[in-house]
Symmetry: C2
Subunit: 351 residues, 2 copies
């Protein structure tokens, strides 16, 4: 490479977990933006609203009344995309028209009784309770279902229709696309290199340091080398861990701590409750509990849409949908900006 | 299948072009929506605005003045994600940190001199001129570049930052992800079944009819069996065609006609200028022009985000990003709704 500089010269990077490429054109962030501005999230969410179906004591769509819960609270999604019993689709008799049965359950988990909180504003103990509840649900639903997808849509920009802090858990009778993909790439890496891909990757990033955002004794967060969203991150354990339920007590505490540090930085970046979709990927469950899943490594993906400010997002549209994801700053630049931010939440700085 | 009904019973469908699945949970459209409302597009776009860099006679970011063009107008993107010369990235020396050179050009094509028009409001002759300009650009850039991605982002919701009717053309020195994927799946289908996948698919859909939206002697538009976006469509030729430049005169006319009919229906669906990202996929070019690309079939994808109304979109977020795309109405229901709409634009109905 004659004088190659990633921040100046467009190039492609390979994502080994999804077997695809991202186009990095960092010089492009200079273009002016005259497109859509997003509405910042409301600042005046009431702590308790009896008409909000996620609040303690509120009545849900199905007529049930929520308990006056004080920690986390799990209940069935009233409009589930997956239900436990659905008949087998008929055979179309043609390979281009293939359908398959899809069964499962959808749950909602409130993180906290207060609607005006988000994870980065919660205490370490409260976040730890969320982690325990995740691990429990994964073990419970994973006893029979092969995939338990825990995910949080945060912010209206990410399709979240309720400001109350919550996530969802969708368990399915099948491995969804992303799980199939990561199963294939991790298995292949393991058989070729004799080491779980993401364990090797975490070791490399811990040494290289330029994409690190936060780290502690058990965990690290990086803007992955192949990130597509501007401030996308990957949360990785340092030791080989298959599933959330395998985390020991101290690892759960250190997870609460690193999540909180990451999410405070996220909020501090544009001084706004930072929107994202995040979710956990671990080894498959159900029948896979009996199989060797040594190629898997537990991890969480954070996919935040904002690019330049609280109101200017990255659009993954035409070229991205039809050809390939494209990013406007390098992962190293994104990591550097996140690293430089304080670890005290901007809302609490003057208290 | 004992009593299976696609509109009532969730199931998965296979997308053979992308080798992935979509979860169809049509019962879910019943849930109330309290989330983000989109701003409808402005109704008062001036026909000519000398400050709009896409208008005839306007000055662009680089200081150049546009000609007083009367048909289509092509110029280089002033903030290109791909440039013809970029040095080769350095070798990281590790398989998890792989970068590759990315070179190319980015062009913008205005469809018409008037900012207050969109394709469905243009005449057949004007649309035909756009098709000719696409074919010309594909041939010109495709002479050296292996992939020429023509795409249109329509509407602010799809990241479009300028209301003037236009599309973009990004040519690259590499096959982007989507091209690689469709190359692989079409090649495999062809070698297994002896017929181009999408030619066989079009024949099937022409017979089955339930997903047809519009058709004519040369073309058909379907909501594909595996559609992810609520009103996603696939535009297919009836004969085997590799690239836009291979279309004969009468096929270009009939393409202008079917595009216009589709886009009028789209606008009529929610009585709004319908946002979408669309793009053309054909056989690769450059060095591939010398190779056998018989497994390829030319097609256009339309990816529109709206779900329920002009202001309620489908969010492809948490579950979709982390696990699998999910849709809230069946492709057959979407096709039926589009079929039932008039072929006169709602804005022109009372003239
Ligand atoms: O080039 P534009 O129209 O300003 O930009 C738009 O389309 C590009 C190509 O899909 C995207 O990368 C941008 O995020 C989007 O805002
Ligand atoms: O279930 P919610 O939060 O109402 O819905 C949100 O998340 C779902 C899962 O990612 C998506 O399918 C919906 O489009 C989105 O609006």
């Amino acid at each position: 490479g004659g004088g190659f500089r990633a921040s100046e010269h467009q190039h492609s990077r390979y994502n080994p977990l999804r077997d695809e490429w991202v186009l990095v054109s960092a010089h492009r962030v200079k273009r002016p933006w005259q497109g859509q501005l997003e509405k910042p999230p409301p600042e005046d969410v009431p702590r308790w609203d009896p008409k909000n179906p996620l609040c303690p004591g509120a009545t849900r769509a199905n007529g049930e009344v929520n308990p006056h819960y004080e920690g986390t609270f799990v209940f069935p999604n009233d409009f589930p995309a997956l239900q436990p019993d659905a008949p087998e689709p008929d055979d179309s008799g043609h390979p281009l028209f293939r359908a398959a049965a899809a069964r499962g359950v959808c749950k909602v988990m409130c993180f906290h009784p207060h609607s005006d909180l988000t994870l980065p504003l919660m205490s370490l103990l409260e976040i730890r309770a969320v982690i325990d509840a995740w691990a429990e649900l994964e073990a419970e639903l994973g006893a029979s279902y092969p995939w338990v997808q825990i995910f949080e849509n945060k912010g209206a920009m990410m399709g979240c229709s309720n400001p109350h802090p919550h996530c969802q858990v969708w368990a399915s009778s099948f491995l969804p696309n992303e799980a199939r993909l990561e199963e294939r790439t991790q298995r292949q890496h393991h058989s070729q290199h004799g080491m779980p891909m993401l364990l090797e990757y975490a070791e490399q990033e811990a040494q290289r340091k330029e994409r690190l955002v936060v780290e502690n004794e058990d965990w690290l967060v990086v803007v992955p080398y192949w990130a597509t969203w501007p401030f996308q991150t990957l949360l990785l354990p340092r030791r080989h861990v298959l599933r959330l339920q395998d985390l020991c007590d101290s690892e759960r505490d250190s997870l609460a701590s690193i999540m909180r540090r990451l999410l405070i930085k996220y909020d501090n970046l544009f001084q706004v409750s930072f929107p994202y979709s995040m979710g956990w990927h671990g080894a498959p469950t159900g029948p896979y509990l009996q199989e060797d899943c040594g190629h898997w490594q537990l991890h969480a993906h954070y996919y935040p849409p904002l690019l330049r400010s609280a109101t200017v997002r990255k659009f993954m549209v035409g070229y991205e949908m039809l050809a390939q994801a494209q990013r406007d700053l390098t992962p190293e630049q994104a990591a550097e900006r996140l690293r430089a931010l304080p670890e005290v939440h901007y809302k609490l700085r003057h208290q």
